[in-house]
Symmetry: C2
Subunit: 239 residues, 2 copies
């Protein structure tokens, strides 16, 4: 038996002065890095060919490994889609955590979250973030995805409500406004794959500027007086 | 032969004083009404079960007719999806035509189009409008859908540019702004099926109000001075 052992790993395991625990930590990190590569490769394949048209063989081929190697990191294609979804939404959840204790008006905290949201949707995980829910997933997976989306939706509504309270956001319907903001950002995943003339960060910044400014003429120009529908529209919002 | 003729239709065809051309027009109108019913039934089935999981048998069953009857009005399931798509986008195209010659600031014309856009997406055809492109369609059908979508996108950009020129819309990047507006509206199809607490018209009105007002505090309140990121964001937009 001894003669068949891999000499490299044998020498590694007896290296003097190196804790076997450290080696174990390194292996864990190595596994984490490789798992991450599998998830990114999956995201790229899903983007390119769609979820249903992508097989684990395709992902393995792209990574130049065998399918069993892929199975060492994830249990199924469905789990891969979920991991791609999570990789995207985790950027938004982290942004919520980051701004939670900032002592700035709620609109600034909201804008910081929206920037990360926009960047996440423009990332390689964007398509999975907005499309995962519409694939044929197990009921448990669907529920999990819905609950994570709902958490983000309610986080945005909460920041809008806080903004209305601290005066940094004008009076509005938090639910409708959250739908409008998230919709505009989610839609990035639909057009960004074909039009990459701006970086994800630039797009996110541009969208936050649009959300902030709206379509109204800037400043107190005479054009404001020429716009009766706005008042009517605002009335409808207050309902 | 004569004895086997349907007496009702025979008496109809010889009714004195009634032009056979009028009867022909009536038949055409009748066919149009029935074709419309087939398309609406298809839209409802696609909404409920998804395009791939819906068969022409399902649509026939919903209409209580046979599948050949459905084939009398459309040639394929793909054509039905296309007709549902067209039924939605035609509402937006009609809005563009309606406002073309109005002598009002471009923002008002844009808002009118966006209201119709929002109502169309909240209608039974909304799901087909935003999802048609992502089904397995023939290349010709895909191109047709893309070109109609592109026409609407460019129509919105044009109204934004005109608004910037006539001063009714503040300086902005027309392409990004059009993407943000259309994205927010398209996303209605994703949440409206589950949350019908407002009518389509109310949602459209609410969204136009959000687009107009943005997130900025209304009026010249002290909070405006507390918002440095807006200026930075606006700078990014001007690129």
């Amino acid at each position: 038996m001894n003669s068949r052992r891999n000499p490299a790993s044998a020498s590694k395991s007896v290296l003097p002065g190196v804790s076997p625990w450290r080696a174990s930590r390194e292996r864990l990190r190595d596994r984490e890095v490789k798992r991450d590569a599998v998830i990114r490769a999956a995201a790229r394949e899903f983007n390119r060919k769609g979820y249903h048209n992508t097989s684990l063989d395709d992902i393995a081929a792209r990574l130049e490994v065998t399918k069993p190697t892929v199975y060492y990191y994830v249990t199924s294609k469905e789990q891969l889609l979920f991991e791609c979804f999570v990789a995207g939404v985790e950027q938004i959840r982290a942004a919520f955590r980051d701004v939670r204790h900032l002592r700035v008006p709620a609109r600034e905290r909201l804008n910081a979250v929206l920037r990360h949201y926009g960047e996440a949707v423009a990332s390689e995980f964007g398509w999975c973030m907005v499309r995962a829910e519409h694939q044929d997933l197990s009921p448990a997976m669907s529920r999990h995805i819905k609950s994570l989306k709902s958490e983000i939706d309610h986080g945005i509504r909460r920041l809008i409500r806080e903004g209305v309270q601290d005066g940094s956001i004008g009076p509005c319907d938090p639910k409708m406004t959250a739908f409008a903001l998230a919709g505009a950002l989610n839609w990035i995943a639909h057009w960004y794959r074909e039009d990459r003339s701006m970086s994800g960060a630039e797009i996110a910044e541009a969208f936050v500027a649009i959300f902030e400014g709206g379509l109204r003429p800037r400043g107190s120009t005479p054009q404001i007086a020429r716009a009766p529908p706005r008042r009517r529209a605002r009335g409808a919002m207050a309902r």
